[in-house]
Subunit: 568 residues, 2 copies
């Protein structure tokens, strides 16, 4: 969660703010104009609206929060939300649920601020199945949200402290803990708690950012209420201007039985590419201290539109870990055209869900392999399939796909390391405006992946970098394939080398819809083959819309019986 006081100039003014009013942490303040018992409605029909990436019904969204898979298998995503205007401010926790991580149902706002001069910043949720907190005497599916409250008395950035709230209805409605805050060091830069259960010590562990000091603090607690400082992880990796939104979790590592520990830190501002970026460390964690295996800096994405990612709780440690990031960048997120009335006044989308493991695929080692999660579940129509492309070009018109969204792959197959050569390039263009995005993969020299959004004309800005690339010692996959793949979704895309070896979430804002895909394969070895496949993707919001295209969401009152599912 990033809200510099400097941004307040563009934030809607706080209503009736006063520093003199004594805070009551158990109360909820309902700012006038925000629906309390029903989701915010939204129209998802504009040509810039993503259809398989989550975007808020209206107004401004940033970090994913409280991500967890509940005992019924339902995924809960909360998110930093200003339900009043399409710029940052008035932060609440919005809420959406999904069974497939692509088709989302909007829920009512889940976490409210305690008063009119405090914002609810980022945090996480845990399921307290053992009732360590005492909030859940009669159930094993109680949800506790742990989050930052950030005070802005008289619109000036004040203290940031950690609070908790509990939900007895499966994560739809939260009540603030009466003795909040649970962790307060009187700092104005202390936020974004991410909490896990650490089984060996039977304690909760929190990581959070002392943002301006480049410190990730590690705390422990038996009950989510009393927190003990255990250690600091200080000035490691790339620093930027602030550390934010840490994640600490176990993740599988290819080729070994035991998972490794994974610490992700988001940085904003100050990315080497400008603005927002995320980095990660792989190492050991003993319940109190995290020690990385080496002192190398590794970024999660090769572009600049994937920030503040959060990993879902509820995925066993020996399975690929699922994460979603905020698909934007603070350098320009508050001025992109989707916030205009004609585009439905929404700003930002989440990345697609990605599954993640660690592997040694490049000489760097401890590479994060981040792949698209089960995108087949939103395939709608096969547009192109050609398994004997050779060295040629395949054109696909997708202007008839109702969602405007496609998935495509281009693969060179039948390879061994010594026959790896050639390029696969794509152009996504608009037959109406001539705008285009280009990119590709290059197997020669230093294997690389690149993308250029600079020929899209609906938005520009001094910080809206056009070109991104990554180079690495990436060879063909184990099955002898070298390929590129993409989820293309109207104003946001994910682009991958070999499915996961390098990847990026990229936003773009065309004046007219893109509708034509050209894929060219060139220079492959004589004994290699190549293939191109393109699918149209579902419009996941269409079934929820009324006759005017408005999605009103759902008011889920209870998630019902949760059975005996154990989160850890």
């Amino acid at each position: 969660m990033f809200l510099k006081s400097a941004l307040l100039g563009v934030i809607v003014s706080l209503v009736g703010e006063t520093a003199a009013q004594a805070p009551d942490p158990t109360s909820s303040y309902y700012r006038p104009g925000i629906p309390t018992d029903t989701p915010v409605p939204g129209n998802y029909t504009d040509y810039l609206r993503p259809r398989v990436h989550f975007s808020p019904p209206r107004y401004f969204m940033n970090d994913p929060n409280g991500m967890h898979r509940d005992p019924s298998g339902l995924y809960h995503m909360y998110y930093q939300y200003n339900p009043l205007t399409p710029v940052a401010g008035n932060q609440h926790w919005g809420h959406a649920t999904s069974r497939d991580l692509y088709t989302w149902e909007n829920q009512k706002i889940a976490v409210w601020p305690p008063n009119n001069y405090t914002y609810v910043f980022s945090g996480s949720c845990v399921i307290d199945s053992e009732n360590t907190s005492g909030f859940f005497p009669d159930q094993d599916n109680g949800v506790v949200a742990i989050y930052t409250l950030a005070e802005y008395p008289n619109n000036v950035q004040g203290v940031q402290y950690q609070a908790i709230a509990y939900s007895r209805d499966g994560g739809y409605t939260f009540a603030a803990y009466e003795n909040n805050p649970v962790l307060n060091i009187n700092s104005t830069q202390f936020r974004d708690p991410y909490v896990i259960w650490y089984e060996p010590t039977s304690k909760w562990v929190m990581v959070l950012a002392y943002a301006a000091e480049f410190v990730i603090g590690i705390y422990s607690s038996p009950d989510l209420k009393e927190w003990t400082h255990e250690s600091n992880f200080t000035k490691q990796g790339y620093l930027g201007v602030q550390y934010e939104c840490p994640n600490l979790l176990q993740m599988p590592m290819r080729g070994q039985e035991d998972p490794v520990w994974f610490l992700q830190i988001s940085i904003n501002p100050g990315s080497p590419k400008g603005g927002s970026i995320s980095e990660y460390f792989v190492g050991d964690f003993n319940g109190t201290h995290f020690v990385p295996y080496d002192d190398a800096t590794r970024f999660t994405d090769f572009s600049k539109d994937n920030y503040a990612g959060q990993f879902f709780h509820g995925i066993p440690a020996n399975e690929p870990q699922i994460a979603l990031g905020w698909g934007s960048n603070w350098q320009y997120t508050q001025i992109v055209p989707t916030g205009l009335i004609e585009h439905g006044q929404f700003r930002s989308a989440m990345s697609v869900p990605r599954t993640n493991i660690i592997a040694n695929v490049s000489a760097r080692g401890y590479d994060l392999l981040s792949a698209v999660y089960s995108v087949e579940s939103v395939f709608d129509s096969e547009l192109t399939y050609n398994s004997s492309v050779g060295n040629s070009t395949i054109l696909t018109y997708f202007g008839d796909v109702p969602s405007g969204a496609i998935y495509f792959e281009a693969n060179i197959t039948g390879l061994v390391a010594s026959t790896l050569r050639g390029t696969a390039n794509f152009t996504l263009s608009s037959s109406m405006s001539g705008e285009y995005i280009q990119g590709g993969i290059n197997a020669g020299g230093s294997p690389s992946i690149w993308i250029n959004r600079g020929n899209i004309r609906g938005f520009d800005n001094p910080y809206f970098t056009d070109k991104f690339s990554e180079e690495g010692t990436f060879g063909p996959s184990n099955n002898g394939t070298w390929g590129m793949s993409m989820v293309y979704d109207n104003s946001i895309l994910e682009f991958f080398l070999n499915g996961a070896q390098a990847g990026a979430t990229v936003t773009f804002f065309p004046e007219r819809p893109l509708d034509t895909l050209s894929v060219s394969i060139d220079g492959i070895a004589a004994n290699a083959s190549s293939s191109v496949a393109v699918w149209g993707l579902k419009d996941t919001w269409a079934d929820q819309a009324d006759g005017n295209g408005t999605v009103r969401g759902n008011v889920t009152q209870s998630s019902g019986s949760m059975g005996s599912y154990q989160l850890f």
Copy 2:
């Protein structure tokens, strides 16, 4: 030095190469067509030619090598040089000398390969004033070059080992040591030695790259001939795809008497911005081990055209250390238009000389302050000076400046931290073609500097990124000034925030010369002032050119008496 075997496709074929020929390390191989006793001539009059940045007379240049200030105060710069074609290959050490670091005199090629299948890669020079090597029985100004020889038998990348050569004429002519190599571990990725004298142990210390393993090896020697492995600095910072060109030296740190130790590593390919980049570490060195003060990753520049920088030997440790970098990026250096016949067939320029110290100006700490070295020495004409700009725009036409090069500053003055606000932006444009470069500094929110070369039309490429920015907790300078400054030089520029707090070398290739500068100041506090000053810069090559504009350089036979100058 970066020469992937993949690049060999565009390199001129080695002549008569054979792996069967027994190497004679003491011989010199003179490839046909390369002048041996006279500098390569060049024409420096094209509108893309830098006039205050060094560029080679013709053909291809990359890393600076062997940089030192000799006992007479003359600066020697050697450089990776292909004297036959405007792409990488046929590597020799070119040579140029200067008294002001802007006005360079081309010298004859200084270091030649031993045979026709070996290249001379990067390295450094030391002055062996105590004759530790035994090469200099009668003088205290002997120069020893320590460099990598890279074999390419049958055009395939072979072994890389370290060799030395000695010069008894002040660095103009070198003879190879008869017992070369001095360090050979039979690796194909082992290069770029940088050697210093470490006084406490009275030994030479070498740092060099085990490139593909992300290791900087540290060796010591009493005589530059016998080298002992002391330690490895492994997998620290950003890794990219290869480590190259380390520098290890002492550097002043603001606010303390003792200098700190500074380790710089260049990375190519694999920069987060794509291609080539340099990072640095600040810490302690005891003659055998370098230990950084923290595990943070810090880059030297915020753009992507400053690589393989080398620090001059001969500058006392308590003075700002002077460095030059290669002003390009391997992603596109071999295809930029300056290599065409109509532009004089030169490729690449060095950065301007920069003076460097360490200071804690941002919250990150250990910030490298890298400022332009004494640019006043090449001021030619004052074009604009206005010390009461306020919030307005100042236009300067510089199409009449013979060099085409300018220096400008725009400063907001009379500030304290609480009055720091406002922006200063520039546009450099061509009145002939309409092309332009824009950039600026922004004091609000997160202070930042940005530049956009995307509206220059003479060159584009998927990796030629348009926009760069850096954000930091940069306040006004101690004298209450917040400003931007630039050395603009036809196809290369340096752009700075507050003179040194953030900086970048940026290349650009316009279709027609840029000739108009617009500087706009906006939003400054009521009690602040602002100023804009613009100077035309000298054409440093003009005095050396004949009637046709050809510069033939100088054949310096001896640097004469060197007195008793001690390098360390």
